[in-house]
């Protein structure tokens, strides 16, 4: 029997319809989709913050509604807010004390040190949270979510709104967390943010999973781009008009046959290239397919 870190079984709530998923330890699963697709609701249900109208969420085999489950699942919301007037170290100490509330557990100091190192906040440990920039607030969100050796970490828009360097740094830290055996479920409005991180992706639209699978297989779809001298009056079957000319998915046909179709339509092909579909295009395709 597989020991899943997180399972959602036919979960239905406001904005979410019959969603099921299972996450293995050490796996990174990305949920993408436009605003209102149900990404944050999905995470809040997985974190036990929202009760589903139907279905069940389990963390390490326990229903997430059990208080004990919160020792295993951490959550960082999309707009991280922490108690004011506290330093980064004090904020983490506050949360660490909640994890060390039973006799014989590790001291909060050790948990805080680990969390600071994990999130790269050691240098900012004595700064007050009001003085933190967006990237450091996200790091603090990650630190508190992973605090106490959580086995599942849920990250809502953790990589959104960050510059490229901060994003790369956080991506590395999240990958490191997963490499240590922590299951990560993260959402992003910007699919490109997850392309280099998630092993598996699910695309949500209007509360339903419309596509799901390993990222490698989703990104295996190839597209032929054709640059034309002049825009065509009408595209050949299977093609669509772009700014530079035409493009078409290569599903089930060769480049040569697609180019031959262009020539058959008397289109002056100046250049052509084959590229793979981006995750953003896959999201847009599912949106346009309505």
């Amino acid at each position: 029997m597989t020991d899943y870190a997180l399972t959602l079984c036919d979960v239905t709530a406001r904005g979410l319809v019959g969603v099921s998923l299972a996450l293995l330890p050490g796996e990174i699963l990305g949920a993408v989709g436009p605003a209102g697709a149900g990404k944050s609701t999905l995470l809040r249900i997985a974190a036990g913050g929202l009760r589903p109208a139907a279905g069940e969420a389990r963390v390490c085999g326990m229903p997430v509604t059990e208080p004990n489950a919160r020792r295993h699942v951490g959550y960082a919301g999309d707009s991280p807010v922490f108690p004011r007037a506290l330093t980064v170290r004090e904020v983490l100490t506050y949360y660490a004390r909640l994890h060390c509330a039973s006799k014989g557990e590790r001291a909060p100091v050790g948990l805080v040190r680990e969390a600071l190192e994990l999130a790269g906040l050691t240098a900012a440990a004595d700064l007050r949270t009001e003085a933190l920039g967006r990237a450091d607030l996200h790091r603090l969100g990650l630190a508190q979510a992973a605090l106490g050796g959580r086995r599942v970490v849920l990250l809502d828009e953790m990589l959104s709104g960050l510059d490229a360097i901060a994003r790369r740094d956080l991506r590395g830290r999240i990958a490191g967390l997963a490499a240590s055996g922590v299951a990560v479920l993260m959402t992003s409005r910007d699919p490109a943010a997850l392309e280099r991180l998630a092993a598996r992706v699910l695309v949500l639209r209007q509360g339903r999973i419309v596509r799901a699978g390993p990222l490698a297989s989703l990104l295996a779809e190839r597209v032929l781009e054709v640059v034309l001298d002049a825009p065509p009056p009408e595209p050949p079957p299977g093609f669509r008009i772009t700014d530079a000319g035409l493009e078409a998915p290569l599903a089930g046909r060769t480049v040569e046959s697609a180019l031959a179709l262009c020539r058959a339509h008397r289109l002056a092909v100046r250049a052509s290239r084959v590229r793979v579909k981006s995750l953003e295009e896959i999201v847009l395709d599912t949106h346009d397919a309505r």
């Binding site: 974190a47 036990g48 913050g49 929202l50 208080p67 004990n68 919160r70 020792r71 699942v73 951490g74 959550y75 919301g77 991280p80 807010v81 922490f82 108690p83 004011r84 007037a85 506290l86 004090e90 100490t93 506050y94 949360y95 004390r97 909640l98 994890h99 060390c100 509330a101 039973s102 006799k103 007050r128 508190q144 979510a145 605090l147 106490g148």
Partner: protein
């Protein structure tokens, strides 16, 4: 034991808020104002009761009233604690400075054990009520409660009721003064009135339970 340790975690907020925010200065200003009023003739028991009650309202506002504090409860609840532990911890955290202020004011105007007990019990009851108000409604509601307790605490209840129009309004005012955590109840604690003590305990418990209910809704 686990519950108590979760309650204790909330105490971390007290020292930082006292030294790094306006909370400490506000409590000092309240103490100074009450001592000044005592010098102008306000009776010692009223001064001590006001110190406890108003100190706890300022504490509730400073420790749980801001929008950031209320939003941060959502994050706290993703850790292994309970809404009741959070509410109890915040109540105890805001009680600490209020009790210290009560004792300091009592020491300054003439120490009497009964008077100090009245002040501490008033702080507990009004603090419970204040916490149940500031968590859902914020700092603005705390200041409304502050003004109403400050005014109602200094005037005899009969005079306040007489100010209201006869009829439903007067009955409502009398009921609010009778049922609410009005300071006139707690004057009798100094005389050992069991009813007044039970009234205060009821407000303390009710306040914490209501506050924990509002904390749970932050999830």
């Amino acid at each position: 034991m686990r519950f108590l340790r979760c309650v204790h975690a909330e105490w971390l907020l007290v020292s930082s808020r006292l030294t790094r925010t306006r909370l400490g200065l506000s409590l000092l200003s309240l103490g100074a104002a009450l001592l000044w009023l005592h010098g102008r003739g306000l009776d010692p028991l009223t001064v001590v009761l006001q110190a406890g009650a108003l100190g706890s309202i300022i504490g509730a506002s400073g420790l749980a009233g801001s929008e950031g504090d209320r939003a941060a409860l959502t994050t706290a609840l993703t850790h292994p604690t309970t809404p009741l532990a959070v509410a109890t911890g915040r109540w105890l955290a805001m009680m600490v400075p209020a009790v210290v202020l009560t004792i300091a004011v009592a020491a300054a105007i003439g120490w009497q054990v009964g008077m100090v007990v009245s002040g501490v019990v008033a702080a507990a009851a009004v603090g419970g009520c204040a916490l149940a108000i500031v968590i859902p409604l914020g700092t603005g509601a705390a200041w409304t409660l502050f003004l109403s307790i400050a005014v109602a605490g200094a005037i005899a209840p009969e005079r306040l009721v007489a100010l209201a129009r006869p009829g439903v309004v007067r009955v409502a005012a009398a009921s609010a003064l009778e049922l609410g955590p009005a300071l006139w109840h707690y004057r009798d604690i100094a005389l050992g009135n069991l009813g007044a003590i039970l009234h205060a305990l009821a407000w303390t418990g009710l306040g914490i339970l209501l506050a924990s209910g509002f904390v749970a809704r932050c999830r």
